[in-house]
Each structure stands twice: as C-alpha cells, then as structure tokens.
C-alpha cells in the first residue's frame, strides 16, 4: 500500500470520526465545530480571497523569521557545544529565556521595532530559535571525535571543518531541530500577529476567536497544518530519508 493511499485512509477515517462525534452532539457545537462548517469557512475564505492574502502575509513573516531562527540557532548551538564557558553562562541564559512565552516578548518587540513587520519577525525568531539551538548544540556535541580527528589530519579546521564535518554529521539533529522550529515559529507568529499590521493568519485567528467563530479558527489550523504537511513532504522528509539511507540507518526503498 503506498504512502498516499495510507494517508488518504488515515485522514479520511479521522474526518469521518470527527463528523460522527460532531453529529453525536456530545460537546457544544460552538466549541467543537464540525468538518462541514470548517470546510465552509475555508471555501468562503479562499473564494473571497481574505485567507489567501492572510496566508501569504503570514508565510512571508514566518520564512523570514525562520531563516534567522535557524541561522542564529545554529551559530549559538556551535558556540554552546564548542566553548564550555559559553555553555555555562550563555547556555544558562538560553535555558532561562526559552521558557518565556511569546506574549511576554510583545511589549519589548513593540518598544524595539515599533509597529512593523520587524516586531512580528522578532517574536517569530524568539519562538523558533530555541529548538534549533538545543538540537544543534547536542548534534555538535555528538559528532564522533574520530571523524573530527580524521578531518583534521587531512588539513581541515575552523570553518572548513565546521562546514564539511560538524554540519553534515549533525544533520539528524538539525532536521529534528528544523521541524520543531517550524512548529514553534508558527505558534510564535500566531502570538506575534496580535501586534503589528495585519493581515495574517494569527490576526485572523484572534479576530475569529473574539467573534466566537470556531469554524474559522479550526479552518485556520487546517491551513497551517496543510502548509506544514507540504513542507514536511517536500523538504524535511526527503532530506531525512536521504541522510538516514546514506548513513545506513534506514533501508533504501
């Protein structure tokens, strides 16, 4: 049975189950919307174009934020993995900062970046950076010392060593970090779009929650989930599969 079919059956059954629970009326319909209402909200949003516009705007913010989160996360990760002093000082700070919810950063984002895209992107970076830092840090720490030694005897050091050994050797950690960064950047974006200029999915989310439009709330989640699935299928999964197969950790198809 191929992947697409399996997924079709799995998500199809989930959808049916959802509708059945919805019809059973166990929970108030206003709290637990059904698939038809959600589908409806999606159709309206896309035919009227508001959702398209919001999605594009949010995606732009997300990708810019994610890019910085990944770069910063990797750099700080190296720093923490490589220098014990950094790990013991900056590392503690990272441990502390990552527990801070996005909304607490909003006032600071506002003061520093005014009402601008910058403020939102700042919040996204702060949301997505931590998993990348933690995973890259561990990834670098887990590079087999013998590989580093081997590279050094072949004249590799500094940035060359970093690029040609440290980075590829920690790809399994990087992928996990990326996946988590992706998810947590979205979450931060939802909080970040409370400030700054609309439109955006987070903005719409807030708005529809205020108006008690649960159909639209779930519809937004569906949009985010579908985008996530597409990226996962096009980027993360193939990379992961390639790496794991090459390393002999997963059998080739």
């Amino acid at each position: 049975m191929n992947t697409a079919l399996k997924r079709f059956i799995f998500f199809g059954s989930l959808l049916v189950l959802w509708e059945v629970i919805f019809q059973l009326n166990i929970w108030p319909k206003t709290m637990f919307p059904g698939p038809v209402g959600v589908a409806n909200a999606l159709v309206i949003g896309f035919t009227e174009g508001t959702l398209i516009f919001a999605t594009l705007n949010s995606l732009k913010r997300l990708f810019i934020g994610l890019l910085f989160a990944v770069i910063l996360g990797t750099l700080i990760g190296v720093l923490l993995a490589k220098y014990k002093t950094a790990d013991e000082t900056l590392g503690s700070l990272v441990t502390a900062l990552q527990t801070i919810p996005s909304i607490v950063w909003l006032p600071l984002a506002l003061t520093w970046f005014k009402f601008s895209e910058g403020a939102i992107i700042f919040v996204v970076i702060l949301g997505g950076m931590w998993p990348m830092i933690m995973n890259m840090r561990m990834g670098f720490k887990n590079v087999e010392p013998i590989l580093i030694k081997a590279a050094k005897t072949m004249g590799s050091s500094g940035f060359d060593l970093f690029r040609r050994v440290m980075i590829p050797a920690s790809i399994p950690y990087a992928i996990t970090g990326l996946r988590l960064s992706w998810a947590f950047s979205w979450r931060a974006l939802m909080a970040g779009e409370l400030i700054g200029p609309g439109p955006g999915l987070g903005y719409t989310l807030m708005f529809s929650r205020d108006l008690g439009n649960m159909n639209l709330v779930v519809a937004l989640m569906v949009v985010i989930a579908v985008i996530g699935s597409i990226i996962d299928n096009l980027v993360f999964q193939p990379t992961e599969k390639k790496v794991l197969t090459r390393w002999g950790l997963e059998k080739a198809a």
């Binding site: 009402f115 200029p197 807030m206 205020d210 008690g212």
Partner: protein, 320 residues
Amino acid sequence: GCGSDGGGQPSEDGDAETKKITMGYFPNLDHAPAIVGLKKDIFAKHLDGVEIKTEPFPDGNNFMDALNSGNLDIGYVGPGPAISRFMAGNDVVILASAANGATLIVAREGSGIEQVADLSGKSFCTPGIGCTHDVQLEKMMLDIGLTTNRIGGDVIHQKQPPATVEALFESEQMDAAALPEPWGTYLVETANASIIVEWDEVAWGETLPSVVLVSSKAFVEKNPELVKNFLKAHTEAIKFVNENRDDSITAINDTLYELTQKRLPESVLTKSWERMKFTSEVHSEALQEWADASYDLKFIQEPPKLDGLVDTTLIEEISK
C-alpha cells in the same frame, strides 16, 4: 434575609436546584457590583446555603468558553463577547446590566487630534478588533465618512491591551485610543492625554452597557429561584456601590492588588467613577443598534438578530 424563603432551598420533587454556583467576573472598575458584592458578602447573604465559587477572568473569550462549556453558571462580562457568541449560536442570555457607559476616547498629547474627524491618517487602538469600544468609535467615524485600513480607509487601527497604551503614547507610536474605563482616565491623568469624546458623547454612550450579567438559558431554566436570588443580590450590590463610592473603590483596588500586586491611583478611579453608571437597566435597542453598526462595519457577516439575547423578565419580577 430574602434568600432563605424558598429560592435557595432545594424543592423536594427531584428537580432540585443546584447548591453550587460558579460565578465569573473581571478584575476591573466597571465590575464593581461583582467585586464589591463579593467583598461585602452581598451575594452570600442572598444565596444562603449555596456554595459560591468565583473566578476572575482575563478576557471575554475565555469567559464565554467557560460559560459555553458549562463550567461557569453566571457572571459579568462585556456586551461584545456576549453578542458575538450569541450570534455564533452559544447559549447565552443577558439578565441585566451592571454598568453602562465607561468608554472614553482619548488622544495623545501633541497628536493634534481634537475631534473624531482629526483621526484621518492617524492611528488609534482598542483592546480588541470589533470590541465594544471599537465599534463605538468606528461608528462615529463612519458617520462622518472615515473608515479604517481594515475596510479600505486611511485610519490605522490596532489591537492593544489598554495597559500598554501609555507606553505607545509615550513613544509616539499611537495617536488615539478608545478604551474602557479606568484606562481612559488613567491616560488623561498620568500621560496628559486629551479627551476627544467624553463617555456620554460616545455613540450610545449612556445607554450601552459596559458590563452585563449573563448566564445560559439552560441554567436559568433549571434554577429560576437561584437566579432570582442572584439578581436580588445583584441589585443590592448596585445600590451599595452607588451609595458607597470610596468603599467600593478600596474594595476594587484590594482585589487588583491581590491579583497583580498593583493598585491604580485612587484619584484616577474616583474620576473614572463618574464616567460610568451602575445600573441594572439594559437598553436592548442600544445593543441592537450597536450590533447593526458592527454589521455595517463588516465585523460580522450576517445582519444581527438579537431576539432572545436579553431576558429581563426575572429582574422585572423581583423588582416588583
């Protein structure tokens, strides 16, 4: 007292009314009847034999979610969430008002805004998008042909928690704000903001509730006596509040302090007190007009029908 003669007591016929009630409110000045009523044991007096659980809420969404999922029986909330949830199909009923008015529109010192018309090309913020105060201001703007960037106009609108507005004014990131009390007065007193529209000149200023007492139909139907007793307490609390301003303000500040370690300046609260009217009288037509404006402003997609949202039969009964 009044609660002991029947209402609070379970009747013997199996259709017993609940002996426990969960009540929600917000730690805010216009929730004075709730806060003071609790502090002064007015609710306890009228609901003799009923266990009262109280829960402060930070925002209308969570309040309505709690009510809707049966976790909350009765409570005080802004009319905005009540209306939008009613239209979204939630089981919610407005039993009485608690306070009317309490919206103030202010502008930053040096913003050059003296009246609503000056907002053109400027920015303002409200605690929510399409919230009570937002619709009030945007309706006034609409009447003179101004719209926000949300629907193609040139006035920039932002959602901002009232507490951050001071800093936004200070850093000149925001020009004006339509806010619930006591935040408007607070800005006037501490940040030299100027009043563009006084509370009673705002659209539906004196008639639109800022806090209503809501419950769910299901709860009211099941516990009519209990609700009646609650309403008795409610009216007594309103009376008390109206007669004991300073006492009430102290009680509210104490509650704020318990929750947040912070007290608002008494002078602000006293001035603010004059910008709202504590009353149980609901003006249904103001609510309907407000909702219609909300539709005109494209906050909601369908023409609002609020029939059945307000049910004043019980309060009328007890006031007889």
